[in-house]
Structure formats: C-alpha cells, structure tokens
C-alpha cells in the first residue's frame, strides 16, 4: 500500500446465506480511496453499497479478497479510531438527549470529560442543533437525526468519514448544509467516503466516484473524466438565423436564439454551412453537451 | 484451542466448587429440609395442569426423605405432611395412600396419621376395596384392634372387585377374634407376594420371619409343657426333647438365631446385625 491510499479493496467478495442457498452480494469488487478526496460510492438501491460499507467498518466479515483500511484489516481497533461512521438511516438512543448521546460516544472514543464539555456544544452548533441539544432524541425530526449523526462522526475529529446515504430523506436546505459540512471536512484535509443513490448531489460534491451495480463495480475514476467520456454532441447557439436554412439540423428555438444540436465530427462542417447561408449570423456559444451523472447512469444500466 | 482450554478450566473449577458447596450446605440441610412445603390446596392452584407431575415429583422427594431417615435416625416427622400434600395434589394416588399408611404405622408408629391418611383415601376414592382392606390390615397386624380390623375387612368385601381374600380375613377375624398366628402369617405372605416395591417386600418379609419365630416358640413351648407333664422334670435343652422322641428336629430360626428353654417356656435369641 502506498501512503496515499486510505482504503484499498481488491477482489472483495461477500456471500449471504439464506438457509442452504448462498447469494453473492459482492462479486469481486476492487477500488481504492486516496487521501483527501471526496469519494462518491454510487449505485441504485440494493446494488451492494451498504454491504461494502459494513465490511469497511467491520460490521460484516468478508468471504474473499483483500481489504485494507489505513493499512489494517477492517474492524481493527486502530482503523476504527480513525473513522467517523454514519450508518444509513441511523437510529439513536431514544432515551438520551442529543448532548448525552454525544457524551456517550465521546467516552467510547476515550475523550476526556473536561474536553467533551467544551467539544459537544461546539459540535452541536456546527450541525445546527444548539437548541435541540437538551431534548430527547425521540423528539427529533429526520433532518435533526441526520445532523446528530454527523456530529457523532465528527466527535473524534476522524481522518476518514464514512457516510452511508447521508443526504437521503432531507429537504433541500438540509442537503445543502450537509454538503457544506462535507466540503468543510475536505478543506481540513479529511477524506470522505459516501454512498448515494441521488446522483445530482454526488455530482456537486465528489472528486471521484465508484459506480456499483448488482454487486459489481462498473466504473471508478474522477467525475469529470467519466462524464466527458460520454460526450457525443455539441450545442451551437446562434442568433439572426434564417430557419429555412436549417433543414437537416436538429434545432430548437429559444426566444430569438436558436439551439442547434450537432454530432462531434460535424461541428466544423456545420458552422461553415451556416456561415455561408446567413450573412448576419452571430454565434453565441459552442459547448459540448455534457451528460449529467444521472443520464450517464441510466445509460450504463440500460447497457447492462 | 486456547479458548477451549480456558472454558474447560473454568468448568473444572465450577464442578469442584459446586461439589464443595453441596458438602457445606448439606451439613445443616436436614434440619430444615421441608419446612417450606406449602399447603396442598394452595399448591393445587399454583400447579395448574401439572398437579399429577408435581405429585410425582413430591413422591420422589418423599422416597428420598424416607430412605434418608431409614438409614440414619429413623425419625420421620414430615412423613405425614408430605403425604398429605401429595394426596391433595393427586387425590387418587393409591400407592401413596397404601404404602404411606404402612410406613406411618410401621416406621413412624403413628396410628393416628396412618388411619387419617386411609380415611382421606376412602373419602376421596370411595369405591376402592384396597383402602378398607389396608385399614383392616393395619388394625390387625400393627394395632391389634381386631374388632376394627374385622369391620374394615367387611367393608372391603362390599366394594366392587374385592378379591375373596377380604372375605376370608373378615370371616376369620369375625368368628375367631383371637390372636391367630397362622392367619397373620397368611396375611403377610399375601402382602409379600403382592408387594410392588422392595421396601414393601422387606417389611412383609420381616413380619413373615417374626411370625414364624412366634409360631415356633408357641409350638415348642407346647411340647416342653407336655414333656414336663409326662417326664416329671424340666428339660434343659431342646436336644433332650429329640432324644425322648417328643420332637423330630429343632426348627430352623429364620434369622439364623436359636431357641432355648427357660422354665417351662421356649424363647428365642435373634442375632444382632
């Protein structure tokens, strides 16, 4: 392992036994996560995201392959010390208040009492639960639960945050706040590994993504690269064009501008044609038509 | 492997401690062994549908209790309370009534409770010939109350399915009303043959032997007195009776003891165990 990779997964396989039947949940997946990046682990529900995360945190054992977290077996105490983990749709101890809960996990991390007294109010403020800190967790809303969960992952100031579906079930403002928190952690030099099936969010946050589908990793790489791979069309936006000259083009009229869609290899040829036929033509913009992650994803899954 | 050894080690220590605790606790256990026996009527309700199993469980405890005291102090203060609770739980526990009453009469020498137990049996289960029969039996052999014995033997003959034994005993006692050792012997032999347990068999066997000794003593005394009448002197040994032709042979003592003459009567000596 070179020092840059925080998580290394090689040919990881996992079976679940239901009665006598064995069901393969993960088919030999491999990926790695580099220090300081935000890694999005993407895939539809049931693809194996949560299983992978549970293996990384030591909640599940694995059947074959090699997994290293900070160079340790997953679930190793040293590894656990450096990880902050937010499970999917986390539940907390209903009977505790937010403050008491953080105090409890703080003690499990071995943080001194005097330190906790200062730290917990700060954390509660960071996640916006300053007022709710003394209320029982039982009374919390979905978004508040997610926030106290984030506060819990931050209590030990971990090097790696593993967040399972941190944005699910939140309103747009809540999502924005949590995304901001993730960025902030990145600024501090932390590594973030998070899973999501909501792609636009991932698009805004991730440096690199891994896409998992049916227990197999389909793609890993920097987000920009993945998206560019699929660029096929260019959009040319023009003004002052005679619509009669546009026979044979895919076009769309937007106000007094016209958006023309052309394949990559015909861009130059098309522009030449347009300039010949329209004297007053004004080209406003030529842009590659970038797939959104969602479109890309739908396409990938269709292929499979 | 190391873990397995740890677990095994723990277990060995536990077995050892448990064994020691048993010893420590057993010391004072006997004094209070069943002070906690609850009332049968209460127990009936608590036991729900498990009354008979509970009665059986108590029966095991009872046997253990009896066995323990038989080997040690031969005192049985709780014999009746256990039997009482037991028969409250299981009102038709025949063996508990019959065997229990014999133990009360024979071992605890407790006529009052022996009879009380059998009266309870007759009240709970009136159409069984066994209960009046045993009542008669106890009165005949233990309490020597022949009038009462005859009454209960008669009662037994009236119950359905009573064997003719009952009638014979009834008739015998009713007409002769005397201390007849042959009848007693027959009664005990019947008990011996119909015994269901070793305990019972042993008691019956013991009584058979005792009765035989008594019969021997009675018969020999008769011969000795006849001898004195005819020969005009007192014999010193039984061998003298054989020499003069009054006796064919000295009967065998069932306990391996011997018979001897004192004055005009014959007595016996039973060896101590």
């Amino acid at each position: 392992m070179d020092g840059k990779n925080i998580i290394e997964v090689k040919n990881l396989a996992k079976f679940f036994k239901t009665g006598l039947k064995k069901k393969e949940i993960l088919h030999s997946i491999s990926f790695e996560i580099k220090k300081g990046e935000i890694f999005g682990f993407l895939g539809p529900n049931g693809a194996g995201k949560t299983t992978t995360i549970k293996i990384l945190t030591g909640l599940l054992n694995y059947d074959s392959g090699e997994v290293r977290v900070f160079g340790f077996e997953p679930g190793n105490k040293e590894a656990r010390k450096r990880i902050g983990f937010l499970p999917e749709q986390p539940y907390f101890y209903d009977h505790l208040t937010g403050y008491e809960f953080l105090e409890f996990t703080g003690e499990l991390y071995g943080i001194e009492k005097s330190k906790l007294k200062k730290l917990i109010p700060e954390l509660l403020e960071v996640v916006g639960l300053k007022e709710a800190g003394n209320k029982k967790i039982r009374t919390y809303s979905r978004g508040m639960l997610q926030r106290i969960g984030i506060a819990n992952t931050l209590i030990r100031d971990p090097e790696l945050l593993i967040l399972d579906e941190p944005l699910t079930g939140l309103d747009p403002i809540g999502r924005k706040e949590i995304k901001d928190l993730i960025f902030e952690q990145k600024k501090k030099g932390k590594t973030v590994f998070f899973s999501s099936h909501i792609l636009p969010d991932a698009e805004q946050v991730c440096d690199r993504v891994g896409v998992i589908f049916n227990g197999k990793i389909i793609k890993t790489g920097p987000l920009a690269e993945i998206l560019r791979e699929k660029v096929k069309n260019y959009e040319i936006i023009v003004k002052n064009v005679d619509l009669n000259t546009l026979n044979g083009f895919h076009y769309e009229k937007i106000g007094n501008e016209v958006l023309i869609n052309v394949p990559e290899e015909k861009v130059e040829e098309s522009i030449k044609k347009l300039l010949e036929k329209n004297n007053n033509l004004k080209i406003i913009r030529i842009t590659p038509e970038v797939y959104t992650l969602e479109e890309w994803f739908v396409e990938i899954i269709k292929e499979k | 492997m190391k873990r397995f050894i740890y677990i095994l080690l723990f277990f060995l220590i536990l077995v050892n401690l448990s064994y020691r605790l048993e010893k420590v606790r057993a010391v004072k256990e006997k004094a209070t062994e069943i002070l906690y026996l609850p009332r049968g009527k209460i127990l009936r309700n608590i036991a729900l549908d498990h009354r008979n199993s509970l009665a059986d469980f108590l029966w095991l405890q009872f046997i253990q209790y009896y066995g323990y005291h038989l080997q040690t102090d031969r005192k049985y203060p709780y014999l009746y309370p256990i039997l009482d609770v037991l028969t409250d739980l299981d009102e038709k526990f025949l063996y508990a009534y019959t065997f229990g009453s014999v133990l009360l009469a024979h071992d605890a020498k407790d006529r009052y409770h022996a009879e009380k137990l059998l009266m309870k049996a007759m009240y709970n289960d009136p159409y069984k010939w066994q209960y009046p029969f045993w009542m008669g039996f106890l009165n005949y052999v233990f309490f020597k109350d022949y009038k009462k014995a005859a009454q209960f033997f008669k009662l037994a003959t009236l119950e359905p399915g009573a064997p003719d034994m009952c009638f014979r005993f009834y008739a015998f006692i009713y007409y002769r009303k005397l201390k007849d050792l042959e009848t007693a012997l027959r009664l005990w032999k019947y008990m011996y043959e119909n015994a269901k347990s070793d305990f019972e068999k042993k008691i019956a066997e013991d009584y058979i032997k005792k009765t035989i000794v008594k019969i021997h003593e009675r018969d020999l005394t008769k011969i000795v007195r006849n001898f004195i009448k005819k020969e005009k002197y007192y014999p010193r040994t039984l061998e003298e009776l054989i020499k003069k032709g009054y006796l064919k042979e000295i009967p065998q003592h069932p306990y391996g003891g011997y018979y001897y003459i004192r004055g005009d009567s014959v007595y016996s000596e039973t060896p101590k165990k």
Binding site: F16, K54, T57, G58, L59, L60, N61, K77, R80, K81, I83, F85, P87, P90, Y91, F92, Y93, H95, L96, E100, F104, T105, E107, L108, Y109, G110, N152, R156 | R3, Y6, I7, F10, F11, I13, L14, V15, L17, S18, Y19, R20, L21, V24, R25, K28, A31, T32, L35, Y36, F57, L60, Q61, Q64
Partner: protein
C-alpha cells in the same frame, strides 16, 4: 474500563427510563406492602410471614425484571441498529457485553437494596426491631441474578429476544430443581443415564447453591466457608458466561 463504564451507564439510563421497568418495580413494592396487610390473617406467625413473603417478593420480582429487560438488552440495539454506532467506535465487543451486564446488574442490586430497606421498615412495624439477617439471605441471590443475566446475554448473542427470555426462565426453573437430577443420577441403573445426568447436574448452574432464604428465616446463618464457596462459584460462572458470550459476539455479523 472507561468504555465499559460508559456502556454500563448508558444501559442503566436506558432501562431506568423505560416504562416496563417502573411497572415491575412498582409491583414489587406493592407486593411487599400487601404482605404487610396479610398479618391479621396469619395468627401469631406474622413475623415469619413478613420475612418469607418479603424475601419471595424481592427475589421473584427481580428475577422477572431481569428476564424481561435482560433478554432485550442486546436485541434492542441490533433491531434499532444503534449497535452500529457503538461497534464502529474503538470499543471492544467484549466491553459491550461486560458493560451491558454491569448496567443491568447494577440496577438490580440497587433495586434489591431498595426493596430490602422497605422490607426492613415493614419488619420494624411488626417486630419493633430490624432484622439485618435478611441482607445476608439476599447476598447469594445477587449471584443468582448475575448468572441469569449472563445466560440471557449468552443466548442473546445468537438467538432472538423471546427465545432468550424463555431460556433465561428455563434455566431459572431448572437451576432450582437441579438437585433432583442428582437424585435421578444416583438412583438410575443405566450407566449412560447416570453419566449423562451427573454431567448435566454439574454442567448446568445450580441456583440452589444461592438459596439460603429458608435457613436464614429460621435464624440459621451458614458458615464462612459457604460464603467463600458460593461467592466464587457465582463469580466464576458469571465470568464463564460473559467470556463465551464475548467469543460468539466477537464473530457476529450485523446485517
């Protein structure tokens, strides 16, 4: 040590903030109180009855409390998935088991003490004096409770709540009847049955070792030897149960 204490404290809070906990404790105290009013019925035996009844109420309700709350101790965390948050901290899994054990154990010990103090007050009202030997009668019971909690935790590591509760109850009953098993072993004629019943007799916890109530009520207090042996028997049994529970829990997967 601090982590164990944190888990114990959390368990303590969790249980004491439950309704069922208060209901059972309340019933226990009510039962004690009722025994006090039985005394006109008891014709001259009131001081014995208040002792018997009090000790029975204390042991019965605490056993009930432990079986009901103890069987859900681990499962509640697994069902609600709060265990994820604990397991992924640097806590050892055996520390979770020990912490859970101590949390419940502490509650029961405090409850026993509280109930016994109340019991002493009732004794004082009937006898005009306290009877501190009752505390001695309850001392070995604390180990019985510890063993039952251990059994509940042990079964909780690999079976469901109901089954664990059932096993806890079964062990409680068997543990008190077990000395008949020895009788069975002694009487049994088959060698196999003999060995088997002796094995079971020593393998299963003998809870009668911790029952001195019926002696103490009559003023018989066992010697020092008894307390040394019963304390070590109880402690070692608890350690064994927690150790094997931890071994299983260590391997457990959380789906």
């Amino acid at each position: 040590m601090r982590r164990i204490f944190a888990i114990a404290k959390n368990t303590f809070k969790e249980l004491t903030r439950q309704k069922i906990f208060f209901i059972i404790v309340l019933f226990g105290f009510a039962m004690l109180f009722i025994s006090f009013f039985l005394y006109p019925l008891s014709v001259g035996e009131q001081s014995k009855i208040i002792r018997d009844f009090g000790l029975s109420a204390i042991t019965f309700f605490n056993t009930l409390l432990v079986i009901i709350t103890g069987s859900a101790l681990l499962h509640k965390e697994m069902d609600k998935r709060t265990i994820y948050l604990v397991i992924t901290t640097p806590v050892e899994r055996r520390e979770i088991i020990i912490g859970k054990f101590l949390g419940l154990f502490m509650i029961v010990v405090i409850n026993i003490l509280g109930m016994e103090i109340f019991h002493q007050i009732l004794i004082f009202f009937t006898d005009r004096k306290f009877d501190l030997s009752m505390f001695i009668a309850l001392y070995p019971y604390i180990f019985e409770i510890g063993i039952i909690i251990g059994i509940l935790l042990f079964f909780s590591t690999f079976t469901g709540t109901l089954f664990s509760a059932f096993m806890g109850f079964a062990f409680y009953v068997i543990g008190h009847l077990i000395e008949s098993l020895k009788l069975f072993a002694e009487v049994s004629k088959s060698v196999f049955l003999k060995i088997f019943s002796y094995f079971l007799y020593y393998f299963l916890p003998n809870l009668e070792h911790f029952n001195i109530k019926n002696k103490v009520v009559y003023g018989e207090i066992p010697g020092r030897e008894y307390f040394i042996f019963s304390t070590s028997y109880g402690l070692i049994f608890i350690i064994l149960l927690l150790y094997t529970s931890s071994l299983i829990f260590e391997k457990k997967e959380f789906k």
